[in-house]
Amino acid sequence: MATNQDTNTSAQAEASEDISSQEMLLNMGPQHPSTHGVLRLVLKLEGETVVDCTPVIGYLHRGIEKILENRPVMGGIRYMDNADYLSPMLNEIAYAGAVEQLMGIEPPWRAQYIRLLVGEMQRIASHLVAVGTYLLDLGAFTPVLWTFRDREGIMALFEALGGSRFNVNYLRVGGVLHDFPNGWLKECEAYLDQLEKNMAELEKLITGNEIFEARTQGVGYIDPQQAIAYGLTGPMLRASGVNWDLRVNRPYMAYREVPVIMQVRQEGDCYARYRVRIQEIHESIRLCRVALDKMPGGPISTRTPIALRPPRGETYFAIESSKGELGIYFISDGSEYPWRAKIRGPSLVNLQILPELLRGHKMSDVVAITGSLDLVLGEVDR
């Protein structure tokens, strides 16, 4: 039992010569406070050091891809909300975008700018949750409540816009559902001003904190090469010094007109991933302001038939979601229902590197590293 092939580091070999210790198998999850839902990690521990880790997924599998096949194309948008449940707007943008790309529809500019605006607000909301829960994993109790308070503002704005806080169901193929209600834009601007102040306060609490730095700097390091090889995207990739952001490299929709400043850091550790998220929040605030300034007039939607029949064919459309590249591979057989709608979820792909990262780290680092991946199990399991 002690002669298994996994323990091949020299330090462990020495340790097993000196003291005869037994590896402990620890089930972390699916019910565990810091696995962000229902991720289960089977940890093999040597003392407090992680020897091996096997993530077990599938506890939140709801068959979203299969549901999409059984709903009319327009009805699928509502189910996309539940995939990455922290950024429903971005999921909807990806799905609607894929169908539009297949049908060759170009939404009116106003709709594209609205999409950019709500998409960036959703990115802010998602990153706020990521930062807050990450700090909760590290034992700080206050940031999560502050970030959820700030996120609530976005939720309220979405409610005014689409009628629902969370599963907004706001996008339509060819545009968006409603135009802004009266006074919404002003409220949005006021919210962004307030958010900027709150972010400064939050950073004062977290960023310079020695304990936070000690817990995250140098922990969970990812090589740029390794990050590319594992197919990481989003803040995970950019924190490793790879400048890849679909909004910049493959601009889509209104991003063709609104340039994005890419947020990249070179360290590649948990701290860098945290900082990239914080910087992206600031960048998103800027983008929201630009969208509010440049918001064009005109219709909010092209007229599309109620029974949407995309032409026979297949397409892949990817957007930069809050967690990385969110792609929809859409195959249509010409009927009202998609033949296949495959979701390329960034969380699932980003999860693959976790066992690699955890090996050799301490038990306490497990939560520090897992939290920095910003997993949403709704999207991992779908």
Binding site: N8, L138, G139, D223, R359, K362
Partner: protein, 462 residues
């Protein structure tokens, strides 16, 4: 026959005399009121913690039960009392049932040496070895935690219990060394004008240490207003001004001893679910909770007595010195009020720290204790001794004490800032940031972790 005679004559009558004596009645009343104080204090602190944290976190906190949520903890305790006491099947039953009591008992016992005012206190406050008694009691706690962790037969509990054992033992040392610095001050000051005791003999009695911090002339200076305020109340002579670093070290160790954030690794919620508490439910769980909050109170109470002048405040010594039962009672009650205000002020800092800081990692925790706190406390003891040696050999006459205190104070304040600087440096230097290159190299050298090569993967860092 012989034994019964002995019992009847000696011990029995002594017991009877003892039980019916006034002292025993006083003891019973004092004990009950102190027991009540520990429990009430825990209840108040739990509510205060929730309210204060809510205030800091921009939310409301409990507000449904009673006015302003005041009855929330009462309702919680009622719920916990009525809850089923669940045991895991494979738990070591006797240890599992005993552990909460073993955790709780020393907390209540430790209160025996805490004086609340010049006269109000258990007979234990007269104990000449107050500090040692407190340290002994506070280190028994760890036994209860290990018992709970081991007997639960749960991996999270076990890790929590063992972490706790390592943590409490490590932080016991700097805690005692920090208290020792106060004892050194008393032994340097003893016997000199304005201070109690005989020359060169310090004290480890908590009551006497409080006296040492109030150096106003015993008979007053003759101006009634000044006497009323400053008799028995000289905040400029409190030991936290002379040894500011030591109260901070003591306080940090207190945080670790009570398993409070940022040292709450044994019950780290996000890692170990609830640590050694994982398998507990109902009143047994509540006992651990009460013990933790009682511990918080006692750490604050000791810090108050040793560094913040204990019960002393304007009017206490003056009123009790007037003579007469009424004035004495008033003065004592005033003393209790001052004491409790100071204790809760320190408890507030506990809560403040909890809502501010993230948690340390286990190895960082150990490094902090062994590489920073213990050397710095040892160095402080050495320095205080050296300063005393040098100052007392200068033959300054009446000014010896003043010069000694001022010099120690200056050095200690300087060390405080040095300490903050060191901690800043050390947290980033001794942690994984420095170790990161080694970990990377190790991971690269490990064959199992080679990057899977993939045809067509974008390469070159772009």
């Amino acid at each position: 026959m012989h034994i019964s005679v002995l019992l009847g004559d000696d011990i029995g009558s002594q017991l009877l005399n003892g039980i019916f004596s006034l002292q025993f009645l006083q003891f019973i009343i004092a004990f009950l009121s102190f027991f009540g104080f520990v429990l009430t204090s825990a209840v108040i602190l739990i509510l205060a913690e929730r309210k204060v944290m809510a205030w800091m976190q921009d939310r409301i906190g409990p507000f449904h039960t009673g006015p302003w949520g005041l009855l929330q903890t009462v309702a919680d305790v009622g719920k916990l009392l009525l809850k089923e006491d669940i045991h895991a099947v494979k738990a070591d039953k006797s240890l599992f049932l005993l552990a909460p009591s073993v955790f709780m008992a020393p907390v209540i016992a430790a209160f025996a040496v805490i004086p609340f005012s010049p006269y109000i206190g258990l007979p234990g406050t007269a104990l000449a070895t107050g500090i040692i008694y407190y340290v002994a009691m506070s280190s028994i706690d760890v036994v209860g935690v290990i018992m709970a962790g081991w007997s639960s037969n749960n991996k999270y509990s076990l890790i929590g219990g063992l972490r706790s054992a390592a943590q409490m033992i490590s932080y016991e040392l700097p805690l005692v060394l920090a208290l020792l610095s106060v004892v050194m001050l008393t032994s340097a000051l003893a016997g000199s004008p304005g201070y109690p005791g005989s020359s060169g003999i310090g004290t480890i009695s908590i009551r006497e240490i409080i006296d040492f911090q109030n150096a106003w002339p015993k008979n007053g200076v003759g101006i009634p207003v000044l006497d009323f305020i400053f008799k028995g109340f000289t905040p400029w002579a409190w030991f936290f001004l002379i040894q500011p670093l030591m109260i901070i070290v003591y306080y940090i160790c207190g945080l670790a001893e009570t398993n409070r954030a940022p040292f709450d690794l044994p019950e780290a919620e996000s890692e170990l679910v609830a640590g050694y508490l994982t398998e507990y439910s109902g009143m047994r769980w509540a006992l651990f909770f009460l013990g933790e909050y009682g511990n918080m109170t006692i750490v604050s109470a000791i810090a108050t007595a040793l560094f913040l002048g204990g019960w002393s405040g304007p009017g206490v010594a003056y009123l009790t010195g007037l003579g007469g039962f009424g004035w004495g009672l008033l003065g004592n009650l005033l003393g209790v009020v001052y004491f409790i205000i100071k204790v809760y002020l320190l408890c507030f800092v506990f809560i403040w720290v909890r809502s501010t800081l993230p948690r340390l990692r286990a190895d960082q925790l150990m490094q902090f204790a062994w590489l920073i706190l213990i050397p710095i406390t040892l160095f402080n003891i050495l320095l205080t001794g050296l300063i005393y040696l040098v100052v007392s050999s200068l033959a300054l006459g009446n000014l010896t004490n003043l010069v000694f205190l001022v010099v120690v104070g200056i050095f200690n304040w300087a060390m405080l800032f040095a300490f903050i600087w060191i901690v800043r440096r050390a947290t980033s230097a001794t942690t994984r940031r420095a170790l990161a290159p080694a970990i990377r190299a190790q991971r690269r050298a490990t064959p199992a972790t080679q990057i899977p090569e993939r045809a067509g993967a974008p390469g070159g860092g772009q």
